[in-house]
Amino acid sequence: MDIAVLIKQVPDTYSERKLREQDWTLDRDAADAVLDEIDSRGVETALQLTEAKGGEVTVVTMGPDRATETLRKALAMGAHKAVHVLDDGLAGSDALQTSAALAAAIRTLSVDLVIAGNESTDGRTGSVPSMLAERLGLPQVTSVRTLEIDGTTLRAERVHDGGYSEVTASLPAVVSVIEKINEPRYPNFKGIMAAKKKPVSTLGIGDLGLDPSTTGLANAASQVLDGAARPPRTAGEKVADDGSGGTKVAEFLAAARLI
């Protein structure tokens, strides 16, 4: 079975993430850019499935030039080929526009399954996978912690706010994974060398057949009005426990009328 995995380059959450105060969009230069951890789990899921059942894994990203680093990382993990959706006219896309571009890119492939992360650590809208399913006319199963494929049927445990459900859908389908799905492998030296030779194709607005009057920040369906940074939190009192630490916390809470 052939699988497309959507991967995204995001600011490393271990470094300080910032919004640009002119337009309150993500300052991509403020932090190191990494493959979103959740998407590395998506890649791992796809690799395990193709290792068991054959077929190829294509990783797909939409992002600026340097997002190729992310594609190389996934190729080094073992993905077979990559598609980079890259066009200046796509900069500043919102989820609705991103899903349109990604859907067009996926239509150029012929895959049985599309795997995404449940939620990106920067956008956090968690809506690209379901938007994509709607655009492609496919069923979708989001937030899965287990995934099995039997012929043309997928079976998954889907975690929702009130517990979990056992869910089935027929392939092709869109799936999004949560962090409990697996531990992603690290690329080894052989993988890193092999990745250099694997094919990466680049698709722009024209290749995807998108209407340029619908793409990019100027045509986004949602726009920022204004923003504000939270005043930084400061450290309060700190005491070393001399055996009465618990009592001191109680006194602090009582003085603040919290107990």
Binding site: S130, G227, G246, L253
Partner: protein, 321 residues
Amino acid sequence: MAEVLVLVDHHDGVVRKVTAELLTAAARLGTPAAVVVGKPGTVESLAAELGALGAAIVYAAESDDAAGFLITPQVAGLAAAAAAATPAAILVPATVDGREISGRLAVRLNSGLLADAVDVESIDGEVVATQSVFGGEYTVRYRVTTGVPIISIRPNAVEAAPTAASPQVVPVQITIDPAISATVIADHPEPIGDRPELGAASVVVSGGRGVGSADNFHVVEELADSLGGAVGASRAAVDSGYYPPQFQVGQTGTTVSPQVYIALGISGAIQHRAGMQTSKTIIAVNKDSEAPIFEIADFGVVGDLFTVAPLLTGAVKARKS
């Protein structure tokens, strides 16, 4: 005034609390209209309650197929109600289901989506949503420029303050396309414990890797219980199997903003802070005086949680009695 559609979150005949919050938010933007998607007969049992929560209109999207399929019935219900109402906005809960529903709906209606809002307001007749970005580092206000604003609102973000209405029930037709739908074979609800829900609790006591084992977590639970609070856990505690995943606090877990947050044996990694740093008062107990959690704690104790927490539990109980 234009209608504002609210997707009703209900299960086994019970309307979930977030629905009341969304109806309150809707009333700020226009006339609250509840959209119920369910098996035939569902609306009859829920309409009065929805009226009490402020719904002036109840759209009944009933179908025998509404229960077995995932997500697509609600998308169809909202799309049908939107066609009937020409609403000013559509509000859904920012739950796993709600986010998925809103994503599909945004494509179907070619409308802008504002996800995980913590507030909504009407400014000069325009719907504006506030989002909390990077775990509360920033607040940003957004508006929609295409179609009907579709907004998912974080549970517990808006306080329910209903003005009761006597709703008019309006049936709408829905058809669900099985070709684009996943099927639910079995649901396994989490048992609801005696403790308050993590996202809504006014006190949260969380344990981290420093708690050391699943057995030791009773120390965290006992402190939470003495304060009438919820229990949370760091990802390291969850990954180590000390506590179940649904209690994870942080960037990839629940975001909490209680009156009091107590971190026991948690280092305070940036991804944990992203889920709790907007708490009103933060208390930290950690052996390591250099632990980053102390940078944001209003009161910190450098010490062993196994001596500090039980003493605190005792002191809280003593004050109550």
